[in-house]
């Protein structure tokens, strides 16, 4: 390898190497396959070579870079970084089937929980993206992603009048919970899905479940179900500890806002300080404007002159008279 391959992906938080499912899948696969990657953790999708994240840049790619986890994994396999090398033909077929299951049943619910559920979106997702994406994208991008995800859900379900609501949430979560239970049954008490060494299916499952496990959402029904499936929870934590130890710190408390009173206390002092500062700033600018245009200063000078030499005017008056 002349130049190492470069991977552009979303920044991490909450103890995860990245907050985005696709990025996590690719990062996990690269670790499993032992691929040497130079990872750029960015928060601006426009700076990635293809315009979306994750993106892999390599001299061996004809167009310079590829996007989409499936294409990235195919490219890594071509470079002989193959985590599925030891799988039998049947296990390879199972991988394809379970990845389809994840995408059809679990992914819509995850997207709903993060982007379409109103409380989660406003409190957690939009706030994180708005805080972390540089100006001026932070005003545009979260909203755009929100609209895109709603559009996608509508198209996939074939119902153009779909609105995020309780009924849709129940259906999606029911499917997702069934999917998680099926995964748990398939995993059983094994360390990874196909024995003792991880494969691409493990990367996909990890990419989908880890954000659910780590990102604290106010409306956490899916998370509760995942918590009840001990082996899946253990599985995710295991992979994080083994393969991403550096990212596995707990986040500083001021970033996490799960409970309302906690968030109030955290935000209050800043709010108060900001309010006082803005009032002072407004007063200062008004005064400055007044002095510069001469309103206040004239009065001041006159008053001072009047105060300083009241006897002179008296004398003048006396003289005039």
């Amino acid at each position: 390898m002349a130049a190492p391959m470069e991977l552009y992906c979303w920044k991490g938080d909450w103890g995860l190497p990245s907050v985005d499912t696709d990025c996590l899948t690719v990062l996990a696969y690269a670790k499993f396959a032992g691929a040497p990657l130079k990872v750029h953790k960015i928060t601006n999708p426009w700076r990635s070579p293809t315009g979306v994240l994750p993106a892999l840049k390599s001299v061996e790619i004809s167009s310079g870079s590829v996007s989409r986890p499936s294409n990235i994994i195919i490219h890594l396999r071509k470079q002989k970084y193959n985590a599925d090398y030891d799988l039998s033909a049947k296990e390879g077929a199972d991988t394809l089937a379970f990845v389809s299951l994840l995408e059809e049943k679990l992914l819509p619910a995850l997207i709903y929980a993060q982007w379409l559920d109103s409380k989660n979106y406003v409190d957690v997702t939009r706030r994180w993206y708005a805080e972390n994406i540089p100006f001026p994208l932070n005003f545009l991008l979260p909203n755009r992603i929100h609209t895109q995800q709603l559009e996608r859900l509508r198209l996939v379900r074939g119902d153009s009048t779909l609105e995020p609501g309780e009924q849709l949430e129940k259906e999606l979560y029911h499917d997702a919970q069934e999917c998680m239970t099926l995964l748990s049954q398939r995993l059983g008490s094994q360390k990874f899905f196909f024995g003792d060494s991880p494969s691409s299916l493990d990367a996909h499952v990890f990419g989908h479940l880890a954000p659910l496990l780590k990102i604290k959402l106010p409306n956490g029904k899916l998370r509760q179900h995942l918590d009840s499936l001990d082996n899946l929870r253990q599985y995710c934590t295991n992979i994080l500890l083994l393969y991403f130890p550096a990212d596995g710190r707990e986040p500083p408390s001021h970033k996490v806002a799960p409970h309302s009173d906690g968030s109030d206390f955290d935000v209050e002092p800043h709010k108060r300080r900001n309010q006082i500062l803005s009032v002072l700033f407004a007063l200062g600018s008004m005064l400055g404007y007044a002095i510069l245009t001469g309103i206040v200063s004239v009065h001041h000078v006159q008053a001072q002159a009047a105060l300083a030499e009241p006897h002179r005017t008296d004398e003048e008056d006396e003289e005039e008279e």
Binding site: K90, A93, G158, R186
Partner: protein, 273 residues
Amino acid sequence: MSLAAEAFVSQIAAAEPWPENATLYQPLREDQILLSDCASSLAVQAYLRMCNLPVQVSCRPNAEYMSPSGKVPFVHVGNQVVSELGPIVQFTKAKGHSLSDGLDDVQRAEMKAYMELVNNMLLTAELYIQWCDDNTAAEISRPRYSSPYSWPLNHILAYQKQWEVRRKMTAIGWAGKNLEQVYEDVSQCCQALSQRLGTQPYFFNKQPTELDALVFGHLFTILTTRLTSDELSEKVKSYSNLLAFCRRIEQSYFEDSQAGSTSRGFSKGPSLI
């Protein structure tokens, strides 16, 4: 079907046995139906035959609009209407007929996963080939889809459907694929199915399940429908155990009086070349 409606329907369904006059609705077989709808319809018919539940097939030009979810086929049983294979399987389960009761948890997980594989890859590939490939869309899909309607409704409906499918492909990320890649995906999917089937008669050894019905529906339709090129059916034909599987199910479940018309209708298929 929404969750509350499902629970309600299940309760009502459990109360009554399967009636004799259950009907399955699909678009017109000779002129209108397209590959993907035909595959879904055949899957449901195969499933019902495997459960030994009688159903009459009725062809209507507006079947798609009659369906509660907008997708065909749908069955009219008693006073309930249920569409698509997933809900129909649950509906029959509520009535006490099920093919997958004998499976253990791991097998059931695999069955659901493989059914999603077929839906995710095969069905999406069929839709892509029908509507996103300009040749096929112009020569086969648009004329067939709009054949029951007169001008100008036929143009409007056909382009509307095409536009909707293309938007869906963009949303799920298939818009960037070309035809070769789609054929490659179909081949991978068939390879996975073939490896899972191995030398067994059905996917879960001796007894057919809804997975067998679904796979049969799609593969048989692909094999017996003529499109602008034979490449799709060639991809399936290269796996001999899948061919044997289709033939076996056809002989076991479709060899009675209906079978003649079934295979004749399919093998005629759209043949504009």
